[in-house]
Symmetry: C2
C-alpha cells in the first residue's frame, strides 16, 4: 500500500474565497441564487485549501465537519478495502461538491484524494445548515445537489449492473466529455487525470481490459489515445455503443 499523506491544516495557506466572483458559480452551490443570496454564501465559505497530488482532503472514518467544493483540480473518491485494494467510487471536477456521504453518520465514508494539485473551498456544514435555514433558495439548491448525487450514483449502478465492458468505457468517456463541456473545456480533447487501474476500479474492470478497449476504440477510429491524452473523434460512434445493452 502506498503512503497516503494526511492533509496538514497548518501547512495549507488559508485564502480568501468569494462565491460571488467565482467563475464556477453557475455549476456549484450558488446556482440559481440571487446576488444578495450569494453574498450570504460568501459569509460562510471563507476558506480555500490547496491540496497536492496524492493528498486526501478527508479519509474514511474522519469526523465530518465540512463539505468541499472543488475550485480547481481533480479528485477521486475511494475506499481502501481490507485487502489493501483501492476501490474508486467516483471522480470529481471543479464545481462539484464532495463530502455529502459524511452527513449521515457524522463521519466520512470514503477518502477524497487529489489526482493533481488542486484547490477546494471549505464549506463548514453546520454553518451551511444554518444559512440554508435562512436562505430558502440555498436550502433548495443544496437539496438539489444531494439529489443529483443520488441520481448520479444510480446511473453508475445501472452501468455496473447491466453494461458490458465496451459500453462502460464509452459511457465513461461521454460522461467526462459532457462534464468538461459544462466547464467550458473542449468536449473532444482532454487529459485523463487517473490511471487505467483507477478507471478500471471505478468501472468494475481490470486495467488490462481498459487498456485493450482503448486500443480497440482507437483501431475503430472512435478515439485517439496517447497515454492519458484522449481525443474523441466520433462521438456518435461512442453513443451508438450504448443503447443496445447486450
Amino acid at each position: 500500500m502506498t503512503a497516503q499523506p494526511v492533509l496538514k491544516a497548518i501547512d495549507i495557506p488559508q485564502l480568501k474565497t468569494v462565491c460571488s466572483s467565482c467563475s464556477l458559480r453557475e455549476l456549484c452551490l450558488p446556482m440559481g441564487l440571487s446576488e444578495n443570496e450569494i453574498e450570504q454564501l460568501d459569509q460562510l465559505v471563507y476558506t480555500r485549501r490547496r491540496v497536492r497530488r496524492g493528498e486526501n482532503i478527508y479519509r474514511a472514518g474522519d469526523p465530518f465537519a465540512s463539505l468541499y467544493a472543488i475550485r480547481s483540480g481533480f479528485f477521486k473518491s475511494n475506499v481502501i478495502l481490507e485487502d489493501g485494494r483501492d476501490q474508486v467510487t467516483g471522480f470529481h471536477m471543479p464545481g462539484e461538491i464532495m463530502g455529502l456521504d459524511g452527513i449521515s453518520a457524522d463521519r466520512h465514508a470514503c477518502n477524497a484524494t487529489a489526482l493533481e494539485d488542486s484547490e477546494v473551498c471549505v464549506i463548514p456544514f453546520a454553518r451551511l445548515e444554518e444559512t440554508s435555514h435562512q436562505v430558502r433558495s440555498l436550502q433548495r439548491q443544496f437539496h438539489k445537489v444531494m439529489s443529483r448525487e443520488i441520481v448520479r450514483d444510480q446511473g453508475v449502478m445501472m452501468l455496473l449492473g447491466s453494461m458490458r465492458a465496451e459500453e462502460r468505457l464509452a459511457a465513461f468517456l461521454l460522461n467526462l466529455s459532457q462534464r468538461f463541456v459544462a466547464r467550458g473545456y473542449s468536449p473532444a480533447e482532454f487529459h485523463l487525470r487517473m490511471t487505467r487501474e483507477e478507471i478500471g476500479s471505478y468501472l468494475g474492470l481490470k486495467l488490462e481490459t481498459v487498456s485493450r478497449i482503448f486500443s480497440k476504440f482507437q483501431e475503430e477510429g472512435l478515439v485517439s489515445v496517447q497515454q492519458k491524452h484522449i481525443r474523441i473523434l466520433h462521438v456518435d460512434g461512442l453513443r451508438a455503443l450504448l443503447g443496445r445493452g447486450q
Copy 2:
C-alpha cells in the same frame, strides 16, 4: 413488456396518518425529533395511500411533488430501459423514504413499484422544505436521510464493481437480514418479495446464476431455501464469504 397499471389517485382511500403514533418513527423521518417536533410533522404528512402489488407510486419522468415513506409492504425502484428490460436499482422496506431522486430535476428518475400490497405516507416536498425551514432538527434529519441514501448507493457500487457472484448474493442476504432486524423481524428467516430475476438485475447477475448460488449455499449448509422462503443457518459462513474480495 408486462402491463404497468398507473396509480389512480381517485381510487385510493385517503387515510389519516400520524407520525407521532407510528411504530416506525425511530427509523423514518421522525427519528431523533422531540414529541413537539413530531407533531409538526403530523401537520404535513397527512395522507396515506394504499398501493397494490404491481402498481407504481410514481414512474420515471413523472413530475416530482412528494416523497413517500413506506408504512407497510415492499417496493423496488426500477428503470425500464429502451430495450424493455427492467433494471432494478433498489429494494425498499417499511420506514424507508422513496422519491429522493426526483428533487434534482423536479421529475422522478425511476419507477417505484410495489412488490406486495403496501401503504405509503405521502410527504409533500414543498411543505417538507417549509417545515424543515422552521424545525431545525427536521432539517438535520432530512439531510441525514439523503446522505444515507448516497452512502447506501456507494455501497452497492462497490459491490457491483468488486465482488464476485457469491459475494454479491451473500452481501445481499446479510443486508436484508440486518434491515429486517431493525424492523423487529427475524434476522434469520424471511420471505423474499422479489423474483430471482429482480435479485439478479439488482446484483448485476442473471437469474440462473442467482438460482445456482442459492442452491450452492444450501448444499453448503449456509442457508435453507425453499422458493421465496429463506432461512439463514450460518451467518458467519456468509460473512466469511465477503472479506476476501478476490
